[in-house]
Symmetry: C2
Subunit: 387 residues, 2 copies
């Protein structure tokens, strides 16, 4: 039996970026308070969180202070230091969700793929590589091109290098700079993702989103994905298998490839609310952020039913150099029925930095997701970060 | 052309109760910050507002500090002192919306009714009363019973006394204690309300809600109201006429009587987001709180289209005496698809105090509002504030 009191339960979040901010927004109506820890003073989550502790993501004293303030700890960035969180949790008795060991698994893409493969999750062929000869051997086995990936630290395409031929093997390894792996290149029909959540006694998956990337950065997520029913069902099944491997409660962003043959292969996992799940704020009854709050608190999960077809478009800074953040001409977004603006409160705009997003829900049952995507892109194009 | 920056525009709110809290929740995604002024330390809005200034609603120094922090001032309680706000606004150049003169009009129910009647808004017959003889004369003219009302300070039924016969005239006046008026008793079919908003260049009205009161406290709002199309249209027209009289931008809660003859008469106006509009958070694209933020900032208003039939049920403390706030067994609310819980973060529960609300949206197109209301009441009954 869940009981609410005042002050409500407090979630301590390592990281105070837009994910922490949207978590605080989702938690507020439930009477759940959020305290964030982030090294950047006045981080995006700060204005709406109960408090910000200004400290590094691996600052043990800071994380101890966070644990003392919180009923449960969680994290919104993979940079969170799992050893420190584990130690603080053991000492203070404040639980951490998901389990920090999950972070450890996910940190290292090679370890992640090995564990998932062992659990029967379909993954593209992959192997560890130590030198250029290993990369060339992988090309012999998988055929060119292959993807050379940094085992740790890559995101938004950073640390992922396509290798077109054996001659490029050494350069690719050098640009990855550190422990690396090679994956067979997946000639995919589309990239989809499933936001999945593991509660105390229940699991839930959200409707499948189709992700449109450009320069390896997510531009739009289209829901429902334009996949067949069979592929959609398969993606849900794979997501549930992934949850079996993951330890501890919370939301996971599970990125998948849909191959041209209609096969589903795991791409990557984020052990936290995910950019490709932002559409859930308007598109479902319970957003990924509310689900994360419920899951880490051990509350029952909510409904993930789709309210109406929805497109999320990232608002990436269209600037050539770093400058003060300002988004001009938002009137069209504000005036469009079904459009919702989300601003992350970052002080500085940098080229292609994620500054916010706009969600567009279908005005009529009959509107196709193609039409919806087109309208969302028009809204995206109507605004600019240029002064 | 509206431009967003970081930090975003700041709304300074006199009052930090649940209305200020939900305003802060609605403003956050838009990058709009809220600072509240409230005499109660750690008031309901405090955890999610950027800051709270602890000061009385008429504390000029506090309101000056609020004005210095804000781009625009507004209020969420009628207790806000209009003279102080007007003076501070003139001195500091920080505008106040709605105009404090609106507060003045609304403060005094007699003045309110006179202005509205003069503008052609239909009101029940009313008159000023100074002594028991005046009340008896009103009974002669209107017929018994009549309503004897405090001209100022009444809310949630306080200050409203039904007078059944001439013999009760003196007692009624005494219990009103202060300047009074008498209104003809309206034998209504139902009470409805229209949440209406006046923007810089545009106005909008929300779908009509039907209000269920018990002991003169709002229990549930049912949307759409079970009124005929003609009555619904008339209610919208009256609401728009009311907006013509009101000065300045913002949301108004307009309470109306639907008589047994299908006539619409004005009951009362609140110059702020209103309890009977809480359903808009889930029930429409743009909630009354987001509309208020947009209106006072001079931004374009958003769509008010109904997403699906919706019932809001207040969670009133079912306690016999003041005690610490705790709401037990919220699992059924959390687990019901279409149900959303809102907790106001009040520290103390008192008999019938508004502690939160639950909104229930129809699961299927075919569900009637009667069925929906029944299910909402079941959710309301499943929880308790008793230890």
């Amino acid at each position: 039996m869940t009981t609410l009191r005042t002050p409500g339960p407090t979630i301590g979040v390592v990281g105070g970026g837009q994910l922490g901010r949207m978590l605080a927004e989702a938690a507020a109506p439930l009477g759940v308070e959020v305290v964030v820890l982030d090294p950047t003073p006045d981080c995006p989550a700060a204005p709406f969180a109960r408090d910000q502790i200004v400290a590094g993501f691996d600052d043990e004293a800071g994380i101890r202070e966070l644990a003392a303030r919180a009923d449960v700890l969680t994290f919104e960035i993979e940079l969170a230091d799992q050893d420190v969180m584990e130690r603080v949790s053991e000492d203070t008795g404040t639980p951490v969700h998901p389990d920090p060991s999950t972070l450890e698994t996910i940190h290292d893409k090679l370890v992640q793929k090995r564990e998932l493969e062992a659990a029967g999750v379909p993954v593209p062929p992959f192997r560890e590589v130590e030198d250029a000869a290993d990369v060339r051997a992988a090309i012999d086995d998988y055929g060119a091109p292959v993807m050379c990936k940094a085992r740790t630290g890559g995101y938004d395409g950073r640390g992922n290098v396509p290798v077109e031929s054996k001659a490029d093997a050494a350069d690719a390894l050098e640009s990855v700079a550190g422990p690396a792996m090679v994956e067979s290149f997946v000639d995919f029909e589309r990239e989809v993702s499933v936001i999945a959540v593991k509660g105390e006694d229940d699991v839930a998956t959200f409707p499948i989103g189709e992700n449109v990337h450009e320069d390896e950065i997510l531009r739009e997520t289209v829901v429902p994905a334009r996949s067949s029913d069979a592929v959609t069902e398969r993606a849900h099944a794979v997501a549930r298998d992934v949850l079996e491997v993951m330890d501890g409660r919370g939301v996971y962003g599970i990125e998948l490839f849909e191959t041209r043959e209609g096969e589903i292969l795991l791409n990557e996992i984020a052990p936290r609310p995910h950019n490709s799940g932002h559409w859930t704020i308007e598109g479902t009854q319970t957003s990924q952020f509310e689900q994360h709050a419920r899951a880490v608190l051990g509350w029952p999960l909510g409904s993930t039913e789709l309210r109406s077809p929805t497109v999320m478009a990232n608002l990436l800074a269209d600037v050539d150099a770093e400058q003060s953040a300002q988004l001009g001409d938002i009137d069209e977004i504000l005036e469009t029925p079904g459009a919702a603006l989300h601003w992350y409160g970052k002080r500085q705009a940098r080229p292609l930095r994620k500054m916010g997003h706009v969600t567009l829900s279908a005005a009529e049952e009959s509107e196709s997701v193609d039409e919806l995507l087109e309208r969302a892109r028009e809204l995206e194009d109507a605004v600019t970060f240029r002064p």
